[in-house]
Symmetry: C2
């Protein structure tokens, strides 16, 4: 069993990014509305890693319930040639997040969730790929785990991970089964899968009897159990059946934030 | 084994549509560029069935290689309140079909292929559903074949059938495996499937050893073999293992054209 070390790979990538950013001029705008605790933490990390590689971060914390103010800021940032990418941190209390996020220029859409980028992903055109999806694919590639021709079971059909991941992996010639809460005989499906990717958010969701020998396990779940962070896998009991497996924490998580920077560099290189 | 009779159901639907159209005023604009043989036949059928239920059809056959002319016509039709829906018949010789089709107002996009409608399908919002996809789902519902909780194997990942069908059936709580030319161990997957939907275009692609007893077979393939139209199924040899199965011709095909009318009625009712 080989442990997929997302933290180590992230740090290697950050070193690479630092060199690339030297030759580019990259500014990331982060918009936060209100003062959500979890958002504060996410934003602190986004600022930390972006700054670390030399990206300039402009942070806007709006204490407002007026959507117009957010709209105006997004429009200004869209038109500002000095801004490479924009993140509207979710949630935006008392505002329609989806509508506001959709206003971000697709060329500055670091998260890859705008209509334009999702449609490009669907059409297999060059798109800004959502960060967690891109992070998972980078990890698989880094460990030389074949995607093309693999039978991949994704559990969780959300718009942030499951659905875009299914499209992206199908584009890479994997055969994807997209499972979810209404799936019957989940075990029959996971047991046949070369790669199992769980993005549910339920501890011990994937147990030893559900996986085949030498499967690859990618755990996107983040759950708190007795103050400890765990994923969706019953890790201790399934790890020895795996050929490769991500730990939680330290697997997919660190990659997601690195992919924000990856997307920003991609955007800067295009312009 | 029950034969899924798409022709009979189409005719029933056309009777229903006729009554509905009486209370609405529906105009369909069809744009053809050049004189492709196959297109001529498709258009003849679209005009025939639309007229039959009382829909007014405006047919524009442009003998041009100037994309601007097509653009201008689409813009005019978009702005014309008397036009309910627009079809740009593919192909458009020497022109960028995708770019032109994308210019159609998403509210008049009968085929459901514009960015706006695909994105809505992805987001599980109310969308104009592509006609073949909608036709298959209507057939399953008509024969009371459960979609929610079923394991469905789709073969073919095209933008017209496979991919939008995977999204639509996932939205309906099916567990979908999207297979294609790079899929390994296809038989292992089809043998587990409650419903097999083939949209490949290869005769005898699905054989008796690949299906389980009482499977449901939906054949979207249209192939010519010795002058005879056949689907992707080795129909004679698999039909007795099926609980329900579509013939080719007479299964999915007739539904597709009916769904053009279904989409037009939906559009007219919304406005």
């Amino acid at each position: 069993m080989i442990l997929i070390d997302g933290k180590k790979y992230r740090d290697e990538l950050l070193e690479e990014y630092k060199k690339k950013v030297e030759d580019l001029s990259i500014s990331l705008a982060i918009i936060q509305v209100g003062n959500n605790e979890a958002s504060n933490l996410y934003i602190t990390n986004k600022i930390k890693y972006s700054s670390q590689v030399g990206i300039n971060v402009e942070y806007f914390n709006l204490d407002t319930e007026d959507e117009k103010e957010v709209e105006e800021l997004i429009n200004q940032l869209n038109e500002n040639d000095n801004i490479t990418g924009i993140i509207l941190q979710s949630p935006t209390p008392n505002m329609n997040y989806d509508r506001l996020a959709e206003m971000i220029d697709s060329k500055k859409d670091v998260d890859g969730f705008t209509k334009e980028n999702i449609y490009k992903l669907y059409m297999k055109e060059e798109a800004i790929i959502p960060c967690t999806v891109k992070g998972i694919i980078k990890l698989l590639d880094h460990y030389n785990i074949p995607i093309s021709g693999s039978n991949i079971c994704i559990i969780g059909r959300g718009n942030i991970v499951g659905k875009p991941l299914a499209l992206a992996l199908t584009n890479r010639d994997a055969t994807v089964t997209l499972c979810h809460s209404k799936t019957k005989k989940l075990k029959d499906i996971t047991k046949k899968a070369d790669i199992i990717i769980s993005a549910v958010g339920k501890p011990n969701m994937i147990t030893e009897d559900m996986v085949k020998k030498d499967f690859v396990g990618i755990d996107v779940g983040i759950n708190k159990v007795n103050g400890k962070t765990v994923g969706d896998f019953d890790f201790e009991n399934i790890k020895d059946k795996a050929s490769y497996i991500t730990p939680v924490p330290g697997g997919v998580g660190p990659m997601t934030i690195a992919m924000i920077i990856d997307n920003l560099i991609e955007m800067a290189e295009k312009n």
